[in-house]
Symmetry: C2
Subunit: 281 residues, 2 copies
């Protein structure tokens, strides 16, 4: 799907223009980062759902160091988008845990923590999703792919963003025919029990903090006290670090340099501005 | 090393009796859970360090949802022991982040979150340690084995505790000659970049929240709103879940049933009482 078509189809689903732009920005980010299974293909998938495009997520609890949000039927991407914007509008003290109820799907988790890290916050995010992974020893599928994304701001250059799901392949890859269903197992080969345990622990952590059954997310957002990234990059001496690749704007510039993609990329590039952390809600 | 010898040697190092008991309880727990590299062998290792046995960890900051502790030169195990006891003495509201400066070594992280989970709290804990893992693509050793431990209380039976380090083997195994140094790489084989990314993200998360260089830990402790473990166990239908095995008391009972181990196990069993979450500091 081409970017302009994706945006048009999001609008055709009935989303208000700012929501369509928010969804588009998240999908375009995933495309630019080489994660097409979280990209424009999701528009087609959204078209198969019964969406309440007018639903608005709500912050139902706020105390120092803690917030609880409820999706209120909004698509999960827009819940997390609202949560991210709210952190900038009302920043945490030292740290804050944000529990998101009724929040699905959550997309490329690295995208949300990257926005927080670009705005100067340390962030970690995990989320539940349908059970697709069994224990490597056998038995029923017990856990989702349960990614953990972590974003760390840097005084020099891009943040470091890690975003690791516990599956050997993604469910999106299976849907897209890029991987066979039997490849959707915990990663790690002979040590797959480790990835399974990580996913199980993270899934139960989210589930235990939710009030109601359903899918959700837990976010940690905190103010950094130190700036470890520049020293790490110096020590890494050129080793490509997770989430790196010159930053999304460089990637977009690279893609846009291909004349055939110019029109398409003009649109994405225009949307990139929306990926900058907004300073207020 | 036999349990009674371990306790005697801890006392001989000059630790006050309650601290010697706390260290012993942690090491005995590791032994009983089949993690001898975090067990009594650590007494021998402590004997090689310059320890300040009179040092006392200090809570240097406390605000709703956040605490910062400083080891003040105390051995890391005793910092985390003090932090765990403090959570019971002064429980969090909905959730609390605890940053621990100058906290090393931290031992079997699952032991600390298990105590919190047995006392009814959801807990997640990670910690930094010397760099031992390189990027799977090569280059210098950039990260420690950086475990992530998660403990989830249950209304029926034992908590679920996951405790996963990002190394294919442990550094303790290398020290003990159970694994070759070249086996100390991120786990995951062809997907080892995932374990490396998880460890890198967790390490930077801790480092970014510390004020001063050095090793430290970050703990999330929260009140559960739901009770997902019984349903998971029912669904798992007998699959052995991480951290399971019938609970430490069952394991100890099993070991103690071996007549040859009876005297040794009598001592461990006596110490098990100390593993129950204290109700006050």
């Amino acid at each position: 799907m081409e970017p302009d078509e994706a945006l048009a189809r999001l609008r055709a689903l009935g989303f208000a223009d700012d929501d369509a732009q928010r969804l588009f920005a998240h999908f375009a980010d995933a495309e630019a980062r080489g994660k097409p299974s979280h990209g424009f293909s999701r528009v087609e998938w959204l078209e198969t759902l019964e969406l309440d495009v007018a639903a608005r997520p709500e912050r139902v609890e706020a105390e120092p160091g803690f917030e609880r949000w409820h999706g209120r039927g909004a698509v999960g991407y827009l819940v997390l988008d609202a949560v991210v914007r709210a952190q900038f509008a009302d920043p945490p003290g030292a740290a804050r845990i944000v529990v998101c109820e009724d929040t699905f799907p959550t997309g490329m988790l690295g995208g949300w923590v990257r926005r927080l890290a670009e705005g100067g916050f340390v962030a970690a995010l995990t989320a539940t999703s349908p059970a697709r992974l069994a224990h490597p020893g056998g038995g029923p599928k017990l856990i989702g792919t349960t990614p953990l994304a972590i974003g760390i701001p840097s005084s020099a250059g891009d943040p470091i963003v890690t975003d690791v799901s516990m599956g050997r392949v993604t469910y999106g890859d299976v849907l897209a025919g890029l991987a066979a269903p039997e490849e959707l197992v915990p990663f790690g080969g002979e040590h797959a029990h480790k990835a399974f345990a990580l996913g199980l622990g993270l899934q139960l952590l989210v589930q235990a903090l939710l009030r109601a059954p359903g899918f959700g997310a837990v976010l940690l957002v905190a103010r950094p006290e130190s700036d470890p990234v520049p020293a790490l990059r110096a020590q890494a001496a050129g080793v490509r670090l997770p989430g790196d690749g010159g930053g999304i704007r460089d990637e977009v510039r690279g893609l846009a340099a291909d004349a055939g993609d110019r029109e398409e990329m003009r649109i994405i590039r225009g949307q990139m501005a929306d990926l900058k952390p907004p300073l207020s809600d």
